[in-house]
């Protein structure tokens, strides 16, 4: 995991500059979080317009609540928690979007997709193909591989996508993700496992 949202030493400093009203700090905040907030909101709601509205709602709560940021989590984790709450509130109000808890526990999607690759006694019959590139930095430079990964993310059930987005894309800790999505540790791990399994397979199909 990239750990990008472990508590950052400069989070507190940025919040202090925002509270002091330093104009440049607001630009930095937008640069650091806005695109990621839209991306996460898309995991909760059906379309881009609704996602943008959730993000606007979130910004308002963040701006009016800055004094409440205590630095116990990273700023990103704090903002993402607010965003998840806004998305859920919106879902309840409009019944247009489905709250995470109603997305199922993932049990309805129990197939890892790997079953056909083992023989009757559980040994590989179709082993993992060697990748032409395994170095993550270099995989990221391959536009097609990243497009394949993006499409595979889009194809995940919403609950799996949200978990893998918060854990692996945003780098949050598992207890933070459980808290934000209101799922148990075990359920979170199952959802993460299914998502990662499918995403590895997608990369294998491109790189293998």
């Amino acid at each position: 995991m990239n750990g990008s949202e472990r508590v950052r030493a400069d989070d507190g400093a940025l919040v202090a500059r925002l509270i002091a009203g330093e104009a440049r700090a607001f630009g930095e905040l937008v640069d650091r979080f806005h695109a990621r907030m839209v991306r996460l909101a898309m995991g909760f709601v059906a379309d881009r317009g609704a996602a943008e509205e959730v993000v606007q709602d979130t910004w308002l709560v963040v701006m009016t609540g800055l004094e409440g940021f205590e630095g116990r989590s990273s700023l990103g984790t704090w903002i993402f928690r607010i965003l998840a709450n806004r998305a859920r509130t919106r879902a309840v109000r409009e019944r247009r979007t489905v709250p995470f808890s109603a997305l199922g526990d993932g049990a309805e999607d129990g197939d890892s997709g790997l079953g056909a690759r083992f023989d009757g006694v559980g040994h590989w019959s179709t082993p993992p193909r060697a990748w032409s590139e395994e170095d993550p930095e270099r995989v990221c430079l391959r536009r097609e591989a990243m497009e394949v990964l993006g499409r595979a993310m889009d194809a995940l059930p919403a609950n799996q996508r949200l978990v893998v987005m918060l854990r692996d894309v945003e780098g949050l800790e598992s207890d933070e993700v459980c808290n934000i999505l209101e799922v148990s540790e075990t359920n979170q791990r199952v959802l993460l496992h299914r998502a990662r399994t499918k995403l590895r397979t997608a990369l294998e199909e491109h790189l293998g």
């Binding site: 009203g21 104009a23 990748w131 993550p136 990243m146 894309v169 993460l192 399994t197």
Partner: protein
């Protein structure tokens, strides 16, 4: 003795450090003997690291400045 199918099902628990030591030993023993599962684990780790590098679509510069100004206004209204 774990099978390859079981190893692929346990790989997230292993990476999460959520495995009892006895099972962890069995997992490692299997890895020591199975190059396919070693490749699988390696690719799974790469996948996680690649995911950590996926960039979000950047906000267009004009919207960025406009949003930053609106955030300042939200603070002022509140204060």
């Amino acid at each position: 003795m774990l099978t390859c199918a079981e190893v692929t099902e346990l790989v997230t628990s292993y990476l999460e450090g959520q495995m009892a030591w006895r099972r962890r030993m069995a997992f490692r023993l299997h890895l020591g003997m199975c190059k396919h599962c070693r490749a699988y684990l390696r690719q799974m780790k790469s996948t996680v690291k690649v995911l950590g590098r996926v960039p979000a679509d950047p906000i267009p510069p004009e919207l960025r400045d406009d949003l930053a100004r609106r955030l300042v206004a939200m603070r002022k209204k509140d204060g």
